[in-house]
């Protein structure tokens, strides 16, 4: 269970999150929507511990543990996964090598034995197949020369292999064609239903047609201003933020 209480975060001295509260229980899917500059990405970075995102007040507990006192890699070890809006390229490092190093780092943190090369190969091939990803992609350097859609698919492969207990997906659906969107949605849905928690950050309700959330929140000006169900997303789609009385560029 993720519990965020009164979270205030500054970036470069400017307050972006201004007292945000959010609780995500095991197995729940939450979607956060909101206008540009509302602080959606800031929320995901602050939870995961990116440098430069300074928490000035509030707490983030994950299964009772204080995430804010942990290094980013420790938070990952606790089962947190962030699907990046813009996955970065790492030249010269194959997807396989990267993912095996990542998995074994997490297992070391968890006190579990490292995965043998052979077993890892089986695992990653199986996951690639499930997600309809070309195994050749696994041999390529991490995200180097990948199209936008390929990068997002790659995030889904990583998520499937690392098998997090909580996934935060930051605009994973942006820039995807309908086929890629289906694959991404499929990846998310596979994670769901195993008592895993998911936080979807999205601009559009399109993804929510494929991954139906339990709750939808509207984030504006650094706070959650409205909470509802899937219907709220549809309302937003129909009327826009302004139509619900939310300033488009509140921040």
């Amino acid at each position: 269970m993720l519990e965020i209480k009164n979270l205030r975060v500054t970036v470069g001295g400017k307050e972006i999150l201004k007292g945000l509260n959010l609780t995500i229980n095991d197995g729940e899917v939450h979607a956060i929507m909101g206008p540009n500059g509302a602080g959606k990405s800031t929320l995901s970075y602050a939870i995961c511990g990116k440098d430069g995102y300074e928490v000035i007040e509030g707490s983030v507990l994950y299964n009772g543990k204080d995430l804010l006192s942990m290094d980013p890699n420790e938070r990952a070890g606790e089962g947190l996964f962030l699907g990046f809006q813009y996955p970065v390229e790492i030249p010269g490092v194959s997807n396989m090598n990267f993912l095996r190093t990542a998995l074994n780092s997490q297992r070391r943190y968890q006190g579990a034995p490292e995965v043998k090369a052979v077993d890892f190969l089986k695992l990653i091939r199986a996951k690639a197949k499930e997600l309809d990803v070309d195994p050749e992609m696994l041999k390529r350097d991490v995200n180097v020369g990948f199209s936008g859609g390929e990068k997002k698919r790659n995030e889904m492969v990583q998520m499937a292999v690392l098998d997090p207990s909580m996934a935060i997906l930051d605009e994973t659906d942006s820039g995807l064609d309908i086929d890629a969107l289906r694959i991404v949605a499929d990846g998310i849905n596979r994670l769901r239903g195993q008592d895993k928690s998911i936080l979807l950050i999205t601009h559009y309700q399109r993804l929510l047609d494929y991954v139906v959330p339990d709750f939808v929140h509207v984030l504006a000006d650094g706070r959650i201003v409205k909470t509802g169900t899937k219907d709220l997303a549809l309302q937003l789609e129909a009327k826009g933020y302004a139509g619900l009385g939310i300033a488009e560029n509140a921040a």
């Binding site: 430069g52 990952a76 070890g77 996964f81 813009y86 996955p87 970065v88 990267f98 990542a102």
Partner: protein, 484 residues
């Protein structure tokens, strides 16, 4: 981070009092400080050398006296007092080293552990006096037997002077002339150690040759001289150095390496250099002034240099190829890492002389801390060299904002049929890359190691397998503490 207390101490001692001079019988095995004709005669006599070699040394000394230290490299260091150095000391007795690993700097042991080096090997590397019973001796013996059966000569340079005088006379100084540069002249006058390799016609050396297996040569020499000859149609892969930081008593190193390939022959020469780089403030550390050159004398011959340079306070090193034979091939693959106050000025020279010769240069420089790394390379195509080809790629990776990377390519083309390509990039490890790795569970050090190894992949893949695995870990260790 490879600070070894021994090396630090002894490096200081080289310029001061010689701590190990108390034992009388060792004292007589040591030439007095400084350099003059008598010292050279002493060295030559100790090595029981033939007259011609003594003459050769003396002539080199004479020439050296008239030469000046090169100043063009982008490195700064206090002036070296060449009269304040010991030029000959007999192999160490067991009195010198630590008695057991308990006496060795724990920091050094930690690095060994990270590299996955066995306890026995750790003792040898740290200079612990060990009885000659450890595993690699028996390995070395079988090893030598096998080489002998193939007709391969693999011995110390001193042995070669006795046992193979014709070969020595023919090849010594034939690729790197005495007067090539200040340090090659110095080396020619005083060299005391090194390896001699001869691969006969048509023989493919059945194993990777490494000084590591040449017993009784555990300590790296200060003025090493290495000659490797690959006769027609032969092949050899030679490994120099060691990924583990080695105990070393000499601050100034000036080695000369000469490679010769005849028709259809190939030499692959791989180096991992990890000498004491000095402490975090730039104190101490080895000065490494090396002249390495290979001559592709025969047609279709090939010389390939691969180097991973992580150690030394000063690195001055340009492994080069003279592409004399038609269709000959020269390659240079280099990774140079500098951290803290290290300075490296390194690169290569590819001299195209024969027709249809080709060369490839891939240089990867990684700078961290307050270090400076320079790539300096020359591609020269002589007027008579038809259809020469060169491809050069120089990439620099910066970690932090106090370090520097410089690329100084020289290109001299005297034949219009030449095709020369040069690519260069400079990049930084970005916060985004780092956070991406951290978010996937890697710690900071593993993340840097991974990113740097990716950056160096094009070079690392040319290292022999077992060397490559250790070298990958070494890259990470060399950069410890450089981020975060």
């Amino acid at each position: 981070m490879v600070a070894t207390e021994q090396a630090k101490q002894t490096v200081e001692e080289v310029s001061g009092e010689y701590k190990y001079g108390f034992v009388t019988d060792i004292d007589t095995e040591k030439a007095p400080k400084g350099l003059n004709e008598d010292v050279i005669r002493f060295i030559s006599a100790k090595k029981k050398e033939p007259e011609w070699l003594l003459d050769w040394r003396l002539k080199a000394y004479e020439k050296w006296l008239k030469m000046e230290e090169p100043k063009w490299a982008m490195v700064n260091y206090p002036e070296i007092d060449f009269q304040d150095i010991y030029y000959y000391a007999a192999p160490k007795s067991s009195e010198d080293g630590p008695k057991s690993l308990d006496e060795v700097d724990p920091e050094l042991l930690r690095v060994y552990e990270k590299l996955g080096i066995s306890l026995k090997e750790q003792e040898v590397l740290a200079g612990v006096a060990v009885d000659i019973v450890f595993d690699s001796v028996s390995v070395a013996t079988t090893f030598r037997k096998k080489l002998k059966e193939a007709g391969i000569i693999f011995c110390s340079i001193s042995e070669a002077a006795h046992d193979y005088p014709e070969l020595m006379r023919k090849y010594l100084g034939s690729v790197v002339p005495v007067t090539d540069n200040y340090y090659s002249a110095l080396n020619s006058a005083v060299f005391t150690d090194g390896t001699f390799v001869y691969i006969p016609k048509g023989v493919r050396c059945p194993m990777e040759l490494s000084t590591y297996f040449r017993i009784n040569e555990a300590n790296t020499g200060q003025f090493e001289r290495t000659i490797i000859i690959a006769d027609e149609g032969s092949y050899v892969s030679y490994l120099e150095g060691c990924t583990a930081p080695q105990r070393d008593e000499n601050q100034l190193h000036a080695a000369v390496v000469e490679l010769i390939t005849h028709d259809d022959a190939e030499i692959k020469y791989s180096t991992v250099q990890n000498w004491y780089p000095g402490d975090k403030d730039g104190k101490g550390g080895i000065y490494n002034f090396v002249t390495k050159r290979g001559a592709c004398r025969g047609k279709n011959s090939k010389i390939s240099w691969t180097q991973v340079e992580t150690g030394s306070a000063i690195t001055w090193k340009y492994p080069s190829c003279l592409l004399i034979g038609d269709n000959s091939v020269g390659e240079f693959y280099s990774v140079a890492i500098t951290n803290n106050h290290q300075q490296a000025d390194t690169g290569t020279k590819m001299i195209h002389i024969g027709n249809n010769t080709s060369s490839t240069i891939i240089s990867k420089g990684i700078s961290a801390g307050k270090s400076e790394a320079t790539y300096r390379g020359l591609v020269k195509v002589m007027a008579g060299a038809e259809n020469a080809r060169n491809f050069t790629q120089c990439d620099s990776l910066l970690i932090g904002d106090l370090c520097g990377a410089h690329t100084v390519p020289y290109i001299e083309i005297k034949n219009p049929t030449a095709q020369v390509e040069h690519e260069a990039t400079t990049s930084k490890i970005s916060d985004e890359q780092l956070f991406y790795c951290l978010q996937r569970g890697l710690d900071v050090e593993d993340s840097v190691t991974l990113i740097v190894n990716g950056f160096c992949k094009d070079v690392m893949k040319h290292l022999p397998m077992e060397f490559a695995v250790e070298a990958q870990k070494l890259l990470g260790i060399s950069l410890e503490g450089s981020v975060g």
